[in-house]
Symmetry: C2
Subunit: 145 residues, 2 copies
């Protein structure tokens, strides 16, 4: 019998752990994150968070290189945030991540920002729309509990 | 032994039922409500909700006339919303509610808008600040679950 704890976790489990670690790290930094935010362009952000001053961050979590390679649409997220990061595990081959985006390394318990994102401030109307989307989505989810 | 169901509910129970009924009514109207929102002026809104277009409503729930009479500070809420309502029970003496504010009658299951509120649109900077406060509060509460 093989030792179960020696097996790599299935991808959805790694993704869930990453989302939890990224969420905790963002809370520690004073941001307020929510998961799975549908955007007007049909994409869905894995993690979206607001700073106390209203800056909008998106973090796309990637469990492995195959998961990353499936996702060629990451520039689409840039229209909906001021800063964009990939959130990956410690073992992820980081040299595949483009230089111009931020990089967060996380596990199930927390994470760290290894590289800051370039800041591309949203225009006011877009920021207003995304903040409202975020606010209504978070409140709807609270109401469903 | 007195029949318990003949006794009026204690005030906190009535307040909780009112908040639930008002919340359901707002959701039915397409708004997204959250409860107990601390405002920058030190007051706390019982219910705050956002319309799909970002209009901000505040509903103060009043379980009885004594509860209403304690609260002389309702004009303070007007600085933080586009529409202001009192939310009361069916038996509340409605003639005590000022004409210029909205009136919602609710029980634990739902409610109805008996009188629309005057609309006093917030200035853009205030709307932005209140929407951000709402968004971060709702996300923080989700994160604590």
């Amino acid at each position: 019998m093989r030792a179960m704890d020696a097996l790599p976790l299935p991808r959805p489990d790694v993704t869930a752990l990453l989302a939890r670690g990224v969420t905790r790290m963002l809370l520690d930094h004073g941001l307020t994150p929510i998961l799975e935010v549908p955007l007007a362009n049909g994409r869905r952000a894995d993690v979206m968070a607001l700073t106390p001053h209203g800056e909008i961050w998106i973090v796309e979590t990637k469990s492995c290189l195959a998961d990353y390679a499936c996702d060629e649409k990451w520039p689409d997220y840039l229209e909906y945030c001021d800063r964009f990061f990939f959130g990956v595990t410690e073992t992820f081959p980081r040299d595949h991540i483009p230089e111009e985006v931020g990089l967060i390394v996380a596990d199930g318990f927390g994470g760290a920002i290894l590289r800051e994102s370039v800041v591309r401030p949203l225009v006011a109307a877009r920021r207003k729309a995304v903040t409202l989307l975020f606010a209504r989505l978070a409140a709807q989810r609270l109401s469903l509990l």
